[in-house]
């Protein structure tokens, strides 16, 4: 979801920016008194500045309540208990204390690394990145995710960790809710 918002917002704002530059380019062929332009320009700038501040303040308030650092991010709708899973990144594999999950599972990934820094990137079945944290030696970063859909998820390494970086992938299976898999 955030990926789409980011793409549309970028296209929208860059388009507006392009319009502003195109407009000024068009007007550059005419001449005008600079002091008058400045006076008017500074007035418009005040509104533009306040507008930008308002957009940024709005985005800040809207997003800071949903930080991925707390367990409430893993929405509490799953019936199952929070499962703590220990994840360790090592050149070039992911070691996990548990590897199969059920839809509805609320999982707490405690992520660390045993050699160099790696990146824990959780992808859903559509290869959409859904959760991420760093895997750093000497530290444990906890990231929460609630598996809503069953399917094959993958963990990709998202921090460059030398020549096997791109083979550092692990598949995990999330079975349908209620136990028995129909696969």
């Amino acid at each position: 979801m955030y990926q789409q918002i980011a793409m549309y917002a970028t296209v929208f704002f860059v388009f507006l920016l392009g319009l502003a530059f195109a407009f000024v380019y068009g007007e550059s062929k005419r001449s005008g008194e600079y002091s008058t332009i400045q006076e008017k320009g500074y007035k418009i700038r005040k509104f533009y500045f306040l507008g930008l501040i308002a957009i940024m303040a709005f985005a800040t308030v809207m997003t800071l309540g949903r930080l991925p650092y707390d367990s409430n991010q893993a929405e509490a709708e799953g019936l199952n208990e929070t499962k703590a899973v220990k994840v360790t990144g090592v050149q070039y594999a992911w070691e996990m204390s548990e590897e199969t999950f059920k839809a509805g599972d609320k999982v707490q990934f405690d992520v660390t690394a045993s050699d160099v820094t790696h990146g824990f990137g959780l992808y859903n079945e559509n290869m959409e990145l859904v959760a991420q944290t760093q895997a750093m030696p000497g530290y444990t970063n906890t990231v929460y995710y609630t598996f809503k859909e069953p399917g094959t998820y993958q963990i990709l390494c998202l921090e460059y960790c030398s020549a096997g970086h791109h083979v550092m992938v692990k598949e995990i299976v999330v079975e349908p809710e209620g136990g028995a898999s129909d696969e």
Partner: protein, 488 residues
Amino acid sequence: MNEAIHPLAKKTVVWHLAVTSLVLILMMIFGVIMLMNQGEMISITPQWFYKIMTAHGTGMVGIAALGGTAILWYFLSKYIKLNPAILIVNFVLFLTGVTMVLIAIFVFDFSDGWTFLYPLPAQSAKMYGAAGAVFFLSGMLVLGIGFLILYMYLAARLTAVYGGLGKALGWDIIFRGKKGYGPPAAVVATAMVIITNSTALLAGATVLAASLVNIINPAVTMDPLLAKHLTYAFGHIFANCTIYMAVIAVYEVLSEYTKRPWKANKVFLIAWNCSTLFTLMIYTHHLLMDFAVPKWMLIIGQVFSYANGLPVMVVTAYGALMIVYRSRMKWDFASSLFFLSMFGWVAGAIPAIIDATIVVNHVMHNTKWVPGHFHTYMGMGVVAMIIGFMYYFNKTEGNQQHRGIDTFTIALYFSFFTGFVGSFLYAGGISAPRRWAEHLPQWVLSDQVGAISGIFIVVAAIIFSARFFSGLRSVGTNVHYQKKSAAG
């Protein structure tokens, strides 16, 4: 106020620009090779991919800094007498550092990325031998020392002429209510870069030295999170500062072309002081996925990354629009590139600011979204400023003329650059990871679009460079002539 650039410094500036344009082309070719490999158009081994990636990242930031330095020195010389020896020392140390980095990568197979996250170099040293890591880290150190010497010297000169870095940043106007305008924009920008980049270089020197000690004696270790802070305080600030050096050309040249002064009024000075402070703080948005960092620090990372966009968007880019508006300015190579570079800078800041939002970063960090945004403001911002300056230099110091081919090349460069960064941002939007030698089938199309756009960008860069080198001949014969205005 009306100094002339020392002839020796002018010659050194030419060397800076010549090296910049050649390295730029080579690094672009490296970039295209990586994209073609990801796009399955060619096939290289992952080891080679990561070596090229390390060279590309280090080289691009390095030459952006070199080109930026040439701009800074050239325009600052108009206001302050500068000793060309320092610029030459910087250049020699730069070349020495770069040579060491290249030896590390291509002779000793160093491929730990230009971010060289501790303890990765030590780990690689165990596997591939210590020479690569040692050469790379010490090369970076030598390069950093060259810049540090330059900034210390410039700090001393600004202090002698303007009475301190604070005054150069207009503090007596902001805080003491002094009336009138501050120092020239070139001086304000230089003061900002001295403060931020010296901090960056000290952070870099610390982590480089500690990594070197760790490789030589593994018993001496460092905290990986602290090391990452230092690495990004170094890398992020240093990369940011390339644009704060290069933008001096925009202030100088656009006001010359439009015959409208770009004076350092109070708002301008406040904006540059904010940039100074924010540039020092916002590297933390690279650590938003390091949950071990205190939460307040991460929130600061988001809030100030937003805020750092404001001085650029509200004062600098807006100022460029205002100065050009109804100015009857002559559109030639230099003015077009400087105008477009302001667009590129802001256009790159937009996805950057979006990515600095923690919830967005949570799913887009280290995807191709990130190189997407910095390629926008590096390629369409900093590099456009440097190329614009190359032409301006040849025109002012020599007698280069704008030709039809220049208009064509500018159009070629910017349209394909839009396609190029668009392909990166799109790939980030579909979760394609950053720095992967090989890609899944669903990501390949975006790589191919990027690679093909990249090829045309290389063509444009080659034409730009050919025009620069051919223009230099007239500079050679005109060196002793009176400097004339490029706007005339």
